[in-house]
Structure formats: structure tokens, C-alpha cells
């Protein structure tokens, strides 16, 4: 039961693994894309990565609190279909803001429903959010049965080309999210989050409001998923009810390679953000590596599985060594 010094040290640097992986991916990507740090390339890469980054942040907070949220992709889909159908290609800015606001409320509500079932009715997080993901995906499909709709083109191009101080807009959004997390994690709520994810029974006996904390993590995740949905819509300019679904697994993968334990209570948010960027860069590399078109899906999926397996592999090898 005693942990070695290495374990303790690694336990305190959960994001280190993610950082090493990120640097590695960056170096490989640089070979394929020598101009990747040029403003334009950087901006176009980052705005593609942003949705997964936002989903990963929400996912990370739920996982830190001892849960998991399978419905994040479906929530992002709802937001995407709402914006694409209600704002429309010729919508006014006022309409856009109105529905961005409504989208955020929808995300909070979807998260609150998850949280209600899991925290207050005490259902298993995985299976519950799996069920709600079906409900939410159905709702998105109901709102927009066939891909289409959209938001005004000028909004899309404004979003794409805004680079304050020559840095991608995504950098600012990531910075705000990380600052918010730094603040949150050093407040009492942050301690509660780690306590609930670490050992819920013990936290309850210590008078931590366990149910409320669990509930809140799903609300946060719903909110982040709505932000991701907005980012997706801004990026693509159109609507598709199935756009978010496949992103769920990526958000979990980002959290895993970000160094957070899926069992909860260990890690942070910076690691998952780096994990999400790493995943994005890997996708980049695949598209540059001139792989046969028929193989791309297989290679992507295999890389995801290998990424998920990486922490386990490292552990297995270390156990064999010692």
C-alpha cells in the first residue's frame, strides 16, 4: 500500500505525461507542417481543436468529481441544431446573441437533468448519461432531421479571422478557462470536488455537500458542452444533428492522456486541455501523412485506443520492471 517516491511525484505532476506527449506530437507535426506556428496555420488549427478542448474541460471536471459524462457530444449537437435552425443563414446579430444565450441555458439544463438523475436519484453515471445521450441525440435529430441550416456567413468569417494581438481567439478562450479553473480549484469548492471524487463516503461523513457537488459537475459539463456546440457552429457555419456524438470519446481520451484518473479525485484541467490539443495534432498528422483514404478511419480509431491504453501500458511495464 505504500507508494514509492516516484508514484508520489508523478501523482503531483499528472499533467507532465500530457506535456511530454504534446511536445512530441508538436515536433512530428512540425515535420509535416513546417509553417504550423505561422499565425494563419496556428489560428486555423486552434479553432478546429477548440470544441474538443472545451468538451474535455467539462469532462475533466465531471471525472475529477468521480463521474463521467457520455452525453457531452449530444448536448453540443443540440446547441448546434438550435443555432442552425433558429438563427439561420440570414439571421441578425441580435438573434444570434439571443440564441447563443438560450443555447447556454439549454446546456445548463441538460447538465442539470444528468446531475439530477445521478446525484439525487443516485444512478450510475456511465449508464445514465449513456441513456440521456440517446435522448439528447434524438432531440437534436428532432430539431434538425437532415443536415442543413446555418448561421450568417459574416459571423463565421468574423469568428475565424479574429486574432487579437496576432494570437488565435482560441488561445484567449483557453486562457480564460484555465484561469477560471485555477481560481475554482483553490476555493473550497475545488477541495470539495477532489474530496467527492476521491472518496464520496468519507467526504459525506466530513459534511461535504456530496450530492450538490456531484450535481454541479454535470451542470458545469453541460455548460462547457454548450460552449463547444457554439464553437462547432461558428466553425462549420451549418447544422448537423450527429456532429457532436463522436466527440464524446475524444473528450474522454483527452482527459485520460491528460493524466487524470478515470476513477476520480486525481488530476486537473490543464492536462486534459493539452491532451485535447495532442489529439487534434495527431488528427492533423494523419491527414498530412498521406494515408490511403480507406484506412483513415481505422488509423484514427486505433490511435484513440492506443492513447487510452497508454497509461495502462506504462503501468504494466513499470510493474514488470520492479
Amino acid at each position: 500500500m505504500k507508494q514509492s517516491r516516484w508514484d508520489v511525484w508523478i501523482g503531483r505532476q499528472p499533467a507532465l505525461f500530457a506535456l511530454i506527449l504534446l511536445i512530441l506530437a508538436l515536433m512530428i507535426n512540425l515535420i509535416f507542417q513546417p509553417n504550423m506556428f505561422a499565425r494563419e496555420t496556428l489560428n486555423s488549427n486552434m479553432r478546429v481543436f477548440l470544441p474538443i478542448i472545451l468538451l474535455a474541460v467539462g469532462q475533466a471536471i465531471v471525472i475529477l468529481g468521480g463521474g463521467i459524462d457520455i452525453s457531452v457530444g449530444a448536448i453540443a449537437s443540440i446547441v448546434n441544431t438550435v443555432l442552425a435552425t433558429r438563427v439561420g443563414l440570414d439571421g441578425s446579430p441580435a438573434q444570434l446573441w439571443q440564441f447563443v444565450f438560450i443555447s447556454l441555458l439549454a446546456g445548463l439544463l441538460a447538465g442539470a437533468i444528468n446531475g439530477f438523475f445521478i446525484a439525487y436519484l443516485r444512478l450510475q453515471p456511465i449508464i445514465t448519461t449513456f441513456a440521456t445521450s440517446f435522448v439528447y441525440a434524438g432531440l437534436a435529430l428532432f430539431i434538425l432531421p437532415n443536415p442543413g441550416g446555418g448561421i450568417p456567413a459574416n459571423v463565421v468569417s468574423l469568428y475565424r479571422n479574429t486574432t487579437p494581438f496576432s494570437l488565435p481567439l482560441a488561445f484567449y478562450i483557453i486562457a480564460i478557462v484555465l484561469l477560471a479553473w485555477m481560481y475554482l480549484s483553490s476555493t473550497r469548492y475545488g477541495k470539495f470536488l477532489f474530496a467527492v471524487g476521491g472518496k464520496a463516503d468519507a467526504a459525506y461523513e466530513t459534511a461535504v455537500p456530496v450530492t450538490w457537488v456531484q450535481f454541479s459537475t454535470y451542470v458545469i459539463s453541460g455548460f462547457m458542452a454548450a460552449l463547444a456546440g457554439i464553437a462547432i457552429t461558428m466553425l462549420s457555419g451549418s447544422g448537423n444533428a450527429d456532429i457532436g456524438g463522436p466527440m464524446t470519446l475524444n473528450s474522454i481520451t483527452a482527459v485520460v492522456i491528460g493524466g487524470n484518473a478515470l476513477s476520480g479525485g486525481v488530476g486537473g484541467v490543464a492536462g486534459p486541455v493539452m491532451g485535447a490539443i495532442t489529439l487534434g495534432i495527431i488528427q492533423n498528422i494523419i491527414s498530412f501523412a498521406s494515408i490511403d483514404t480507406w484506412w483513415v478511419t481505422f488509423v484514427r480509431a486505433t490511435i484513440i485506443v492506443v492513447a487510452l491504453a497508454a497509461p495502462g501500458l506504462v503501468n504494466l511495464i513499470r510493474r514488470k520492471w520492479s
Binding site: 463521467i68 457520455i70 438523475f117 436519484l121 443516485r122 444512478l123 450510475q124 456511465i126 449508464i127 445514465t128 449513456f130 441513456a131 440521456t132 445521450s133 440517446f134 435522448v135 439528447y136 441525440a137 434524438g138 432531440l139 437534436a140 435529430l141 428532432f142 432531421p145 464520496a200 463516503d201 459525506y204 456530496v210 450530492t211 444533428a241 463522436p246 470519446l249 474522454i252 481520451t253 485520460v256 478515470l262 480507406w294 484506412w295 483513415v296 478511419t297 481505422f298 488509423v299 484514427r300 480509431a301 486505433t302 484513440i304 485506443v305 487510452l308 491504453a309 495502462g312 501500458l313 503501468n315 504494466l316
Partner: protein
Amino acid sequence: MKRFSVSPPVAALILAIILFLLSGLLPQGFGSDLNVAQAQATNIVRLAVFLGVIAAGQTLVIISGSEGIDLSAGSVVTLTAILTYVIVNGADARVLPALFISLAVGGLVGFLNGVGITYLRISPFVMTLGMAGVVSGAIIVITHGNVSGRVAPIMTRLIARPLSPNLQIPNAVIIWILFGILMWLLLERSTFGRNLFAIGVNRVTAKLSGVNVTGTNLVTYSLAGALAGFGGFLLVGNTGVVHLQLGQPFLFPSIAAVAVGGTLLSGGKGSYWGTMAGAIVLTLITSLLTTMQMPESVRRMVLGGTLLILISIYGRQRSLRQ
């Protein structure tokens, strides 16, 4: 205090009958004419066979506990259905090799799931979801987007047709009943089955009682994969055609069927009889929605809602405060 108790399989069967009778009240429902009703009922059970067989593997992994689940089942069904279709290509002689290959390929995917889950400690949900992507990728690699083949006459005769013209019981149902008996023998009358329940309840106790936990788990996932493979083989024998999304629609209902049948989603308790009854209930619900011409979106929401209600009834975890 005498407890009021109906075993879950019986409860599910009663639910199926009530649903069937209620559907008679709907304008486009079943059961308005006795002969029609009988034919409808037979048809529903026949359709339930495929869901039931696919849900067999799901039952095993869910009983194995530790959040056991197999999300790759849908892709595996598609893969083995396509393989069977291509290999058989109309020849009766190639049916047995195709069956063998379906079982082997399914078993291999399941084995890989098992390796990831047991040795690399990846959560079953995440591992099998990732594997679903890999299998989907493999399907694209194998088919290059289009498949050409044909099922053999003997398959249609053995699976889709009734036993004899006088006795209107489809062969598939007979196969299912025999299959059910084998599953019962496996779960209730074999050492493997007893060990499976044991690891589902408590893996530490199981190990300290001499159960090979890792081995049992690995076999369970391999078996689940092989059973999904068998499901693909049966399914193509019934439909006679394949497409790239053939198995996917069975995934969510297969999990819901297990839950309806009263198998604890947390593991360690359950039966295949329950899953069979659950498969009938789920098929009935899906058929009803189809008959009522509900769009895909509503179908998804109803399925998601069904599972949500089920886990709210069966899946409550213990309260922090007693």
C-alpha cells in the same frame, strides 16, 4: 414481513404482454384481429431473436461487473454479417466456414477488448467504445464502401422460414430457445458461470477464493465478442442483405434488454431468461414506433427514456445517508 416478489424475467414478460394488448387500442397497432394478432406476435418474437442473441454477450459482460459493458457489439455484428455475406456468396458449402469465421472474428475483437480492460485497466465503456471505432474503420478498409455477396439458400431456410408449413414457429425462434438453454447451462450450471457471478459481485473475494479473475474476465469478453459475431451471422441470414449500419441500431436496445430483464447493471446478478424477455419488450417497443411511423429522432428519445426509467427503478445505488 412477506415480500411481494415476481422474478424479473416474469415481470418483463408480463410487461411485453401488456404492451402488446395495449397496442391493440392504437389505430395502427396490433391485435385488432385475432389471426392478425397471432401472426404479429410471432413476427415480433422472430425479430426479437436477433436482438436477443446480440444481447447474450451483453448479459455476460454486464454480469461480470466493474461497469462491464460491450459497446463494440453493434460494429461486430455489422462486420461478421458482411464477412458472412461475402464469404458465403450464395454457396451452401461455405456457410459453416462463414459461421466459424464470424465466431472467431467476433471472439478476437472481444479478446482485444478483454486485454485492454483486464491488463491495461481501461474502463470497459471507454475500451469497447474505442474498439467500436476500430471495427468500423476495419469495415471500411475491408469493403471499400461497397459489398458484394449473397446469403446461401440453406441459411434462409434455417433462419428465416418456419419449421414446417403447418407449425408457424419460425426456425429462428427454435434456434433461440436452444441457445437460451445453452446460455442457462453456461450461467447456472457451469463453473465458469458461477465464477462469472462471483467476479461480478466482488473480485477480491473471488480471487481469494481461488477464482482466476483475469482469465474469467478475458474469457467473458471474448465470449461476448463471439456471441455478437454469431448475432451478425444470424442477422444476415434473416435480412439477406447487408449495409454498413446493419448492427448499430441493435447496440442500445441490447443494453436496455439486459436491464429490462432484471440483470443488475452493477453486475453479479442476472439471467439470460430475463434478457430474452427484455429483447421481446424492446422489439415490441421498436416495432410499435415503426408502425406508428415515428421518425428516428423519436425512436431514439423513447429508447433513451426507457433505459432511463429502467435504471431509475433497478439501478439506484445505496444512499450516503441511511
